[in-house]
Amino acid sequence: MKPVLEITDLKIEFDTFEGTSHVLDGIHLSLGKKDTLGLVGETGCGKSITAKAILRLLPVPPARLVSGEILFGGEDLLKKSDEEMKEIRGRQIAMVFQDPMTFLNPVFSIEEQLVDVISAHSNRNGSRKEIDRKEAKKKAVALLGEVKIPQPDVRIKSYPHEFSGGMRQRVLIAMALSRSPQVLIADEPTTALDVTIQAQILKLLHELVERHGNSVLLISHDLGVVAKVCRRIAVMYAGSIVENCSTEALFNEPFHPYTQGLLNSILTFSKRKDAAQGIQGGIPDLIHPPSGCRFHPRCSRAMKICEIEKPSPVEAEKNHVVSCHLYPVRKVKSF
């Protein structure tokens, strides 16, 4: 099946005072129709940069595109004009951010903000059939109902500060889904929330996506969150994707040493004391990234070649792609 969104060899650098930071080092990623893909990794590995690059939200400069393309519906998003991007943002690719308070304007009521979003998107439509505000409001109330805000017709008059964190995130999800976009990017949508609220939001997100049939790219540092929602998971480390496979394969048979280490580090309820290992060392500085495979200084199974050559993604098993010199050729021969 043809993917909805396909990223090939995306390289992005940032010019900083200390030097050039090699933030994305050749990302390959594809998102199929109705697919749910989780993008996991630790702080600074480039998860959010990838999301922002897709929507072209990175400030240029300091960001600089070195190579690569992002194909959406067969067209390269990186070659679009700003006007064309405006048509895509929110309507075809929408995004839900981490901290709902910073993305809602505190001086406007939820009603004004939702109605603005709905009418702006409708009125930019080619047909020029203007939605009036009354109609937009009706739609806004319906949307709030859909994200399970109680008494939507009353609560729509509230201001963001009158809503709790969970409710604000619901509003943002309502906004993002208002134009039923093909792709929904959720960047750490539950990180600012408490666990009991997180469980509510994840369930809501799951239901809505099932109903609307959007493709989802869920970004999180929490493998547990991703496991709950996604069918496939891509693991990022220091600007590249080291492993990309189905959720089952990732947890049951991870290939990459980093993924193995990461799974070993996570504290779960079943883990006994001292069972969690952690990974030696810290996250590398992306201004002076390690040569070859960027994980080699922390890797327990590093070989000579790891210092010299960057491993390219290999399909070690069917639908299980890993970038590591331990898997030089395909394990299973394709016929």
Binding site: E42, T43, S164, G166, M167, D194, V195, T196, I197, Q198, A199, Q200, L202, K203, H221, D222, L223, G224, V225, V226, A227, K228, T247, E248, L250, F251, N252, G261, L262, L263, N264, S265, I266, L267, T268, F269, K271, K273, D274, A276, Q277, G278, I279, G282, I283
Partner: protein, 346 residues
């Protein structure tokens, strides 16, 4: 049995809210509302709860960084709440806190050496070579090298910064360490390292930990005893293993089932709580959890605040569901009405 190192009894902290300056009636944020627990020497006690449940306020009241409204905090038998300023200063040497955010709890304009040596200069009057040797020793204990000594906080990684905070806390040989979300700001691969390190440090230096976290897995991994807080109250307390494997209080059940598990097979039976956490200014009547409870038994939950029911295994629960069970099962142990229980002393 030895006396507990720290004994907290009926601790309350209400923050007054002024409504407008003509308003006579004062409202309060009841951040901590009658909390009792005790920690034995060498043990780790964990406080878990969601944001706003009052975990950090408990920690700050224990150190008397804020004045408790009511209640008693006994540290080695001395009542902290009724001690004078100078007595408190002496006592603070013995109890130290490590904060959540290592970036903001270290002075960016001081080197690691200055940060770690400050308490030694103030409390012990160390100078010159002696001071330097002691700082080197401390850095070594927390796994930093002497080359880190003259660096500034911004030159260190998050994990290293947290280690500097630990070195500073350890400098006066405290007996009690309060760890307020010590790993929340760290990445998972570093978090496990840090917890294992804290664990070995405890064994080595015979420390007692009060561990505060919203992360249930972290608490289960590190603590012997755990108290689950909801809106300023401990609603369930007991051995960590038992509380998490066999939660009794409906809130604990929901909390445990809400934690996303990193595995391929996702359990279907997640208990989903409805609604949000009520505000601490308007704590619901009766049982404070009744607005979200899925096992509510009736009017009694809305009207009467549940007492503390103790179980023979040493755990205790604040929930009307256990009124009969706790009493019937073990007549000798049950029915403790709000009495703080010496945890695990059986």
């Amino acid at each position: 049995m030895m006396d507990p190192l720290l004994h907290v009894k009926n601790l309350k902290k209400y923050f007054p809210l002024r409504k407008g300056f003509l308003e006579k009636e004062k409202t309060y944020v009841r951040a901590v509302d009658d909390v009792s627990f005790s920690i034995r020497r060498g043990n780790s006690f964990g406080l878990v709860g969601e944001s706003g449940s009052g975990k950090t306020t408990v920690a700050r009241a224990i150190l008397r960084l804020i004045e408790p409204t009511e209640g008693e905090v006994r540290f080695e038998g001395m009542d902290i709440c009724r001690s004078s300023e100078s007595e408190i200063n002496e006592m603070r040497r013995e109890m130290q806190i490590i904060f959540q955010d290592p970036h903001s709890s270290l002075n960016p304009r001081k080197t690691v050496f200055k940060i770690v040596s400050e308490p030694l200069i103030i409390h012990e009057g160390l100078r010159g070579k002696k001071l330097r040797r002691r700082v080197e020793e401390l850095l070594e204990t927390v796994g930093l090298k002497s080359e880190h000594m003259f660096r500034y906080p911004h030159e260190l990684s998050g994990g290293q910064k947290q280690r500097v905070g630990i070195a500073r806390a350890l400098s006066l040989n405290p007996k009690l360490l309060i760890l307020d979300e010590p790993t929340s700001a760290l990445d998972v691969s570093v978090q496990a390292q840090m917890l294992n390190f804290l664990e070995s440090l405890q064994r080595e230096l015979d420390l007692t930990y009060l561990f505060i976290s919203h992360n249930l897995a972290v608490i289960r991994y590190t603590c012997d005893t755990v108290g689950v807080m909801y809106l300023g109250k401990i609603i369930e307390m007991g051995e960590a293993e038992k509380v998490f494997s066999m939660p009794r209080h409906p809130y604990t059940k929901a909390l445990v089932s809400a934690v996303p598990i990193p595995q391929a097979e996702q359990p279907e039976t997640a208990i989903l709580l409805e609604g949000d956490i009520p505000s601490a200014t308007h704590i619901p009547s009766g049982c404070r959890f009744h607005t979200r409870c899925f096992e509510k038994i009736g009017a009694v939950c809305e009207e009467r605040e549940p007492e503390t029911y103790c179980f023979p295994d040493g755990s205790q629960v604040n929930c009307h569901l256990f009124k009969s069970t706790a009493l019937d099962d073990e007549a000798g142990h049950g029915g403790g009405s709000g009495k703080p229980l010496e945890t695990k002393d059986r």
